[in-house]
Amino acid sequence: MSAAQRFLEVKGLKKEYVAGNPILKGVDFSIDSPGIVAIIGPSGTGKSTLLRCINRLIEPTAGQIIFDNSDVCLASGKVLRHLRRQVAMVFQEYNLVERLSVIENVLSGRLGYMTSWQAWRRNYLQSDINNAYELLAAVGLEEHANKRADSLSGGQRQRVGIARAVMQDPRIILADEPTSSLDPKTAVEIMELLEKFASEKNIPALVNMHDVKLAQRFAKRIIGMSNGHIVYDGAPEGITDEHLKKIYGGESWLD
């Protein structure tokens, strides 16, 4: 596989919040094809940290993150912002701006493309506005466009979160536990949406999750993490109880 097709490459990524106590202990992987990649592992194993390092919401301690032929870790200022706008993020708690309307939350996905003055004037391009409405229709929330974001239910908010992410016209989507705060039915719907947008845009979506079954159902590839290391990386069918024991520890929870 040539480097030109490569979406993302993470090399030797380390992160320690407190010196001498690393949470990521050298993570290596690369993403060469579109579609959903699930990252599974117990809480506190550094899944969130990993995703947040990729768009530098958290500063990595060491290692390289190659995206768009440049090292994200070395970027700063404008270069970093241009990298970030190509890396969309979906959050566990949706992180919508609650006092803004739904449509404005979707439009805020374009902020990386706008100058501060345009942002202040709310000068969105007409094409962006059209696009935002289409995306809202695609996630089934057209009629809620002018409601305030805090009036929506959890599932609806996450749809808005996904629409905002897609609005960025990203080359990769990072989703940090997008379904953990939702009921099982809504969780499946959200995963379907992520799958749909990933295949439409032909981009990868890196999704952190707890639920192994859900991961096996949607992911083309599963990365299993434990204790700051990658312990499994491969097809969802290849994951065995042995692997799960290694990832989560113990076995009583397996039936």
């Binding site: 309307s101 449509i103 404005e104 439009l107 709310r122 969105y124 007409q126 506005i129 059209n130 935002a132 409405y133």
Partner: protein, 265 residues
């Protein structure tokens, strides 16, 4: 296929117009003010230089002045603030009760209470001091009353708001037992507003310490009198000493209030 452009606006026309009116009002007010206010530009640009000059004349601080006049005046200032805060309770508690709609139901009582509370707040403590100096002559008494009268509005308003916010369930339960009015007050309302009451009074005391430091400028006692005298004599090093003392006491008062509030609440 014909593409339909979606129309999107952050605010409706009516919201826009009313916001616009407010902005316009402020801009017009600002422009009018800037154009008509009497400011001599030379004075404005000269200000930093003059400030530096003033501060240089304050240095070194005349610490010897502290035991001579500052110490006693500072104690007097603290007494004015504290006594004023205590006296204000005599007026503000009844007014707060009258103003709280869950205690006194009569709208007449509300309007009367409101009138006194608003008047008290609208007149500055220095103006109150001027009035009381005119009545009682220069001295501490005028200062204490000025502080007391200025605080009535503040304490009364906040206290009546606190009273209105309480949970009426326990009050109704007490009424249902046939408890007399006084008992309902003491056992129904008081336990619920107690933390708010103390924090309001402490907060006001903190403000009053600052205010009582300047009352002397119009003759109502305290450190302000000393400050005024040294200023009239252009004794800037003594002025600096007084200012330092005020600063220290104000900071100390704030620390005391913060710590007491922590323990009470």
């Amino acid at each position: 296929m014909q593409k339909i452009d979606h129309h999107w606006q952050r605010f409706t026309l009516k919201q826009k117009l009313s916001r616009f009116t407010v902005y316009l009002f402020f801009i017009v007010a600002l422009v009018l003010s800037v154009r008509t206010v009497e400011i001599i530009p030379e004075f404005f640009f000269d200000a930093p230089e003059q400030m530096v000059d003033l501060f240089s004349r304050m240095w070194p601080i005349d610490f010897a002045f502290y035991p001579i006049s500052v110490h006693d005046a500072m104690i007097e200032t603290l007494n004015i603030a504290t006594l004023g805060t205590l006296f204000t309770l005599i007026f503000s508690i009844p007014l707060a009760l009258m103003n709280a709609s869950n205690i006194v139901a009569s709208p007449w009582a509300h309007w009367i209470a409101r009138f006194f509370l608003v008047s008290s707040r609208s007149v500055n403590s220095l103006v109150w001091a001027l009035l009381f100096v005119a009545i009682f002559g220069p001295g501490v008494l005028a200062g204490v009353l000025a502080i007391a009268f200025r605080s009535v509005g503040f304490v009364g308003k906040l206290l009546s708001e606190a009273l209105e916010e309480i949970d009426m369930g326990s009050v109704e339960a007490l009424r249902a037992t046939g408890a007399p009015w006084g008992a309902v007050m003491l056992k129904g309302y008081w336990p619920q507003v107690k933390p708010a009451f103390f924090s309001i009074v402490l907060f006001r005391w903190d403000i009053n310490v600052r205010e009582s430091a300047v009352l002397g400028l119009v003759g109502a006692g305290g450190i302000g009198v000393v400050l005024n005298d040294s200023m009239n004599l252009f004794q800037w090093q003594q002025v600096a000493m007084s200012l330092l003392a005020i600063f220290a006491v104000v900071v100390a008062a704030e620390v005391v209030v913060v710590n007491i509030r922590k323990r009470l609440i």
